[in-house]
Symmetry: C2
Subunit: 110 residues, 2 copies
Amino acid sequence: MQTDIPQVYRHHVFACFQSRPAGHPRGSCGQQGSEPLWKRLGQAIEGLRDPRVAMTATGCLGFCRAGPLMVIYPAGVWYAVRTEADVDEIVASHLGRGEIVERLAIVPQP
Amino acid sequence: MQTDIPQVYRHHVFACFQSRPAGHPRGSCGQQGSEPLWKRLGQAIEGLRDPRVAMTATGCLGFCRAGPLMVIYPAGVWYAVRTEADVDEIVASHLGRGEIVERLAIVPQP
């Protein structure tokens, strides 16, 4: 969709904070260790001191087996994150320099 | 940012489910009546039966005084929603026909 409406954010990060109990058949990003990763993500984004980069916590983004999952719009790039080093690389590369981290990007199938 | 990565969703709706207690100085989308609106939004999106349209619940999107707030990516269009008729119009127009509802679109300032 073409639009003349200005983008509020250059990068708007949505990170899945869904947690489900251990043994739940769908799993969840929380169960896969998202909590410390998103804490670091929030701190690293604050560290950018860029008012045009924002982070929002979400409920389930779907694709629960692929988690911990985040998606950055308007680019629409989904990342599966495993380690704090992954977080740091996404923040420095995608959010800082505008370069997608190809090795962590996934294209989930609805 | 240019990217060759395919978009997972044609329209990805993020609706703020934040609630704060009555009298809280920031207010919240919940306090401004978001709950029945987002319930209707979810039902209307299901009614589209379009796997390329998704809705995700979020925590605070910021701009709390403007709520109930939603943002649709990748277009990056923010909507302040007051009534169920507003919801129906956004779903039919923006999500269904790809036409922005100008009268409900806002551009919050970070």
